[in-house]
Structure formats: C-alpha cells, structure tokens
C-alpha cells in the first residue's frame, strides 16, 4: 500500500474511534443526568428505614433528637401548626445558605420549597410501609430549576441537589436507626495536608460514583 493509502486508512480508523468514544461518553452523560419536566430537573430517591411508620414520624416530632440530627447544618423554626421555616448551611462549609418553608401535608407526608437560595428547589416526602414488614420506605421527589450552563457549573462546583438528597436520606436513616451518623473524613492517617485534600476530592468522587 502506498504511503498516501496508509494515511487514509489511519485517518479513517482514528475518525471511527473518535466517533465511537464520543458517542459512548455522550450516552454515559445522558444516563447520569436527571429527568427534565417543564424546565425542572426531577429525581426520585428512596431509602428503607427499619422502623415502623409511626416511629419514623415520631423521630421528627422529638425536638431533642431533631436538634441533634440537624445541629451541624440547619435550624428549624415553627411558624404555625403545619408550617416550619428551615435555615440550612452547606455542610461542607462553603458558606452557602438556604431558607426553605416546610409544610406537613398529612400523616407521613411533607413538602418543602426553597424561598432563598442559590437554586430554586422544591420537593416532597412520603412515608410508606415497606413490604414484608421491613419498616418504612421514605420516598422523596426533588425538583430544581437550573439552566444547562448553571447545571454544568453546579456540578463543577460540587453542588448537586440530587447528591445532597441521597446523602440526606442516608443520614436520616442512620439517625433514626442508630441515633448517630458515622464519618471517617480526617480520621488519623499518615497523609500530609495536601494528600488529605486530594483524598477528600477522591472521597467525593466515590460518593458520586465517579460522576464529574
């Protein structure tokens, strides 16, 4: 084969490879993006708590336990019988603050909307008895409004409402079942401060399952 022919073959192979890799990356990106409905990003997440529904509801009505659970990142103020105001700050210490209004819609049903915050958000939670007497399912739906550019920036700055929801559900389950939430961040190790920062970034990657 002439050298010109070889160049065409190599160029063709490179093009096909680039197209294939590009399609694979695009497919993976699409799979990891939340659904869109009328301009809102929507995710549904759930977790099963090994306690009866009344005990899960009871957890939130015990002020002492609630304060202990929220101590690090949020305060609650009661407005009337069914409405609460929540002021929450970024658990990672980024200085971001949200104000939200929570409404109890009925036994085991709660909704909220962010009144002041970096991203317009609203959501609802429903408590459903789990099958085979395995406790209570906490079913959550979260909607947030964010443009595509902002969404990309949000992911880059590690603020992702979906991740925050998943983390919150795990935290709530652990609090209800054990009364505590474990954390191993900055446990003793032989790492230098720089290595610790790199490890923190990798931990975040592990939390998101490798998602950027």
């Amino acid at each position: 084969m002439t050298s010109s022919g070889m160049r065409w073959v190599l160029g063709g192979a490179a093009t096909v490879t680039a197209l294939g890799v590009g399609r694979m990356v695009a497919r993976r990106r699409r799979r990891h993006q939340p659904d869109r409905e009328g301009g809102w990003y929507v995710v549904h997440r759930g977790i099963t708590v090994n306690r009866p529904r009344d005990a899960v509801i009871g957890f939130w009505t015990g002020q002492e336990r609630l304060d202990r659970g929220l101590a690090e990142w949020a305060t609650l103020e009661r407005l009337d019988d069914n409405r609460w105001r929540c002021v929450a700050s970024d658990p990672a210490g980024g200085g971001t603050e949200w104000r939200a209004e929570l409404t109890v819609d009925g036994p085991g049903r709660l909704s909220w909307r962010v009144t002041e915050g970096p991203v317009a958000e609203r959501g609802r939670v429903e408590l459903v008895p789990a099958p085979q007497g395995r406790g209570t399912e906490i079913r959550a739906e979260l909607r947030w409004r964010s443009g595509r550019v902002r969404q990309l920036l949000g992911l880059a700055s590690r603020h992702d409402p979906d991740l925050a929801l998943r983390s919150a559900l795990r935290r709530i389950k652990s609090l209800i079942e054990t009364g505590q939430v474990l954390d191993t961040r900055h446990d003793p190790s032989g790492r230098s401060p720089k290595q610790e920062q790199a490890t923190d970034r990798i931990r975040e990657r592990l939390t998101v399952g490798g998602r950027p």
Binding site: T178, G179, Q180, V181, L182, P188, Q195, I202, T207, G210
Partner: protein, 182 residues
C-alpha cells in the same frame, strides 16, 4: 502515635499520626495490645483491592484495652480488655437485626463506589480501604471503633492477649457471640 501506613503498592512506612478521638456517641477508643496480619492485608498491600490512599493505616485483626468510650456506650467499660470484629456493624438496621452484619446499612459512610462496583455496599471494615468506609486500621497504638457495644467483645479474665489475637480475629467474635449467648 506510631502507625503502619500504606504508601503505595508494596510500600509501607511507620509514620507519626494524630491519635484518634471520639467522633460519634457509640465510639470507643482501644489501646492496641496485639494486632495480627491477615491474608487480606496482603491484598491491600499489593494493590489488589481498589481505593487505598497514601497514608491509610492498615490492620483489622486486633485486641486491646478500652481507654475511652462515647456517651452512648453501655456494655463496654473503660479498662475492659476487648477483641474487636473487623466488620463495623450498627446493630440496628435490618441486616444487623437478621444477623447479616457484613451488610450493615449504616457503617459505610461512602457506599456509592462499592454499590457501583459490586451491586451492594458492604459494611464498613476497619483498616480496609475507602471502598469499605475509609476507617483507620489497628496497626497503630490506638484505634477508634464505631458502635463499640456491637463490635467489641470482652475477653475473659485469665486469657492471654496473644491467644485471643491469633488469626483470624474476626472469627473470634463470630464464635464467641453465639457461644456466650447459649
């Protein structure tokens, strides 16, 4: 305190590291008297298990003396000689209540990676990479043991420390629990 740290594949070093502190109400701090080497330590050292980081403290088969307890610890007392199971279990989730402790829902603080890798996150394991929670291990002078009431077992008077730390330590509590309950 001194601790044996993983520095990279087949690279270990003894380093000065901060002492552990009580971070949750169910934690206990154990002064390690004996810590043995498990076959799976070799997997970690040789890089066969993912998610090890420079500076991670190895070791998960050990016994020692309790020197500090969290406010919610009831069964274990300061001064107890204990042997500790390497798997961290909360004792309250569905898996723990059905005696499937290695699947505990609440002891692995970063489960998403292993969920993707294996389909279900295992429980946290002391000194066993960040896929198993990123806990510091027992090849150190002190170690923090979460859910101390569930994972630590008091060694009877008169038993030698080294006898109770002979490998595999995780089998000791597994056998001791049912035997003592019988």
């Amino acid at each position: 305190m001194k601790a044996l740290c993983w520095e990279g594949v087949r690279k270990l070093a003894v380093r000065d590291v901060p002492e552990p502190t009580i971070r949750a109400a169910g934690d206990i701090i154990v002064k390690v008297r004996a810590s043995s080497v498990c076959g799976s330590d070799l997997h970690l050292i040789n890089g066969y298990l993912p998610a090890m980081r420079e500076g991670d403290i190895l070791g998960h088969e050990f016994m020692g003396e309790v020197v500090e307890t969290g406010p919610d610890v009831r069964r274990i007392k300061i001064g107890d000689r204990v042997v500790v199971g390497s798997v961290v279990a909360c004792g309250a989730c569905w898996y723990c209540r059905t005696e499937q402790y290695s699947l505990c829902d609440n002891s692995n603080p970063q489960p998403v990676f292993s969920e993707k890798l294996w389909g279900h996150a295992p429980a946290g394991i002391l000194g066993y990479s960040h896929a198993a929670g990123g806990y510091s291990g027992s090849h150190a002078e002190y170690i923090r043991v979460p859910f101390g009431d569930v994972g630590a077992f008091t060694v009877p008077e008169g038993c030698r420390t080294t006898r109770w730390c002979s490998p595999p330590t995780p089998c000791r509590p597994a056998g001791w629990g049912p035997t003592s309950a019988a």
